[in-house]
Amino acid sequence: MTTTTTAPTARPRGSGWHGFGRLLTTETKVWMRDFASPFFGIVFPTIILLGVGYFIPGMREPITDAPPDSVWFGLTPIATFLPTVLAMAVGTASLTVMPVTIATYREKGVLRRLSTTPMRPQGIVASHLIINMVTTLVGIALALVVAEVAFGVPVPAQLGVVLLATALGLSAMFALGMMVAAVAPRPSSANAIAMSLYFPMLLLAGLWTPGPIMPDLLRDIGQFTPLGAAAQALTTGWFESGFPTLQMIVMAVWTAVLLPLAVKMFRWS
């Protein structure tokens, strides 16, 4: 068809991402008006850390019943709990906050509404990935500061391993969160799926039996889950020597499988 008179004059700038900066800042502002979302993502892991440290007897007494040549000797139990708290921080916003937000936007038609504007609906998903990623990092930072100030937790033995384990844990858990967001038809089902994954994962990450006191069976199962692998890799990096190869691969595989699958299965309306 030759319709030069009615054709638009120019392609919009940035083709589909024009206004993303404002979208991100507006989404952040609006998201922070929901008290619960920032609270859980940022403060919850630290509250657990403080609660366990101060209310469970003996958590701050150095371990003396381990063999004197083991890495655990002389550490406080609350220090061995830190990798679990960090894994929890990695898993909270990604799994319990982000999927519910996205499912709500889908149910309310926000994603569809956005599809009628030059902004791609991917923009709003990207905004919430960024928002929850930043929330998680702030939550991790807060837990680290509190761990240091309140409990004098030692610095990591292998900083590189700790950073890599954190990065892979983030990617695996956000991939899992995106998968839940992709398939959950409603916010309530997103919440139900997220919770039924979150608590078993916390168990396997050592919330009730951290680091050295985890039963072998739990450890064997946990190393194949994203959060269990993250906690184990963090424990190795923080206190032990050697490279947690299996755990790193497990997290990488979860990411590599879940992320493309989530993108493929994602429903916009």
């Binding site: 319709t3 009615t6 919009p12 024009h18 507006t26 038609g109 509404r113 009628t116 309306s269």
Partner: protein, 329 residues
Amino acid sequence: MAQPIVEVRNLRKTYGDKVAVDDVSFAVQPGEIFGILGPNGAGKTTSVETLAGLRHADGGTVRVLGIDPQRHPEQVREHLGVQLQEAALHDKITVGEALRLFAGFYSRPADPDELLALLDLTEHADKQFGRLSGGQKQRLSIALALVGNPRVAILDELTTGLDPQARRSTWDLVERVRATGVTILLVTHFMDEAERLCDRLVVIDAGRVVAEGSPAALIDRLDDDRTVVVRFGTDDAARAREALDRLAADHPDVSRVEELDGGRGEIAVSGTPRVLFALVPALAEADLVPDDVRTVTRTLEDVFLAVTGRTYAPQEEAESALVAEGARS
């Protein structure tokens, strides 16, 4: 005629073995308020969603500003404002934030403050979406459809759920928007709304266009049947019925006399456009003084009845279930 700004030809869309849109064609001229009218589930929303590039048709062609929205949705979106059926914003975003947010998506947006004024929303700019009334939500939704300075705006069921006063002020608003040069595609299941606002319209039923034209032309095109309704007190009712039956038998301009339901003693007298001339002398001769006389105004509902053979019932359960199913697939 000018090049149509929106053109739909032989549009067809099925969900599985269910046909949502069978065969729909229409063309909208620049500057018009063009209506798509029909009962729920007739295929209206599916048609406009295809126009907006949200769905792929199974057959037919669609052009907006000469562009195929299914192949180049990004080129259409800059110039097509869409107000979808249900409100779609976070409850905690404010009116002003939402408008500025959406303005940011377009390369030449309208001034958000001017739009707020046009839609009487200035005083609510800091109110959160979840706290707005139905009418305010609807006005914001229209503002968001207009914030990109579109050349065409689709308004889908914009007065559903509004009280009569809010409906009337929304209608005024649509006319104000058209006055700014925007072509408007109005999707509605309200006959009175279409009659009041549309320059031209198509009536869609079961996925097909069953009538097309201006509301007045469609009504004029109905056959020349006219009806006058008279009401008598209980004393005269029987005698009146008798006299009118006789009139129907004798007079060439009177074809039918029937008592209306409702037990209020109303009698409908139908015939040619001259039926009134026949009725009045007959009543005078028998000295029957009606308590009330009214002529029945014909509306688009009569047009719908004439073209489909069914009384207009906007909520047709089976068909709205079909649309719900379509939305899920």
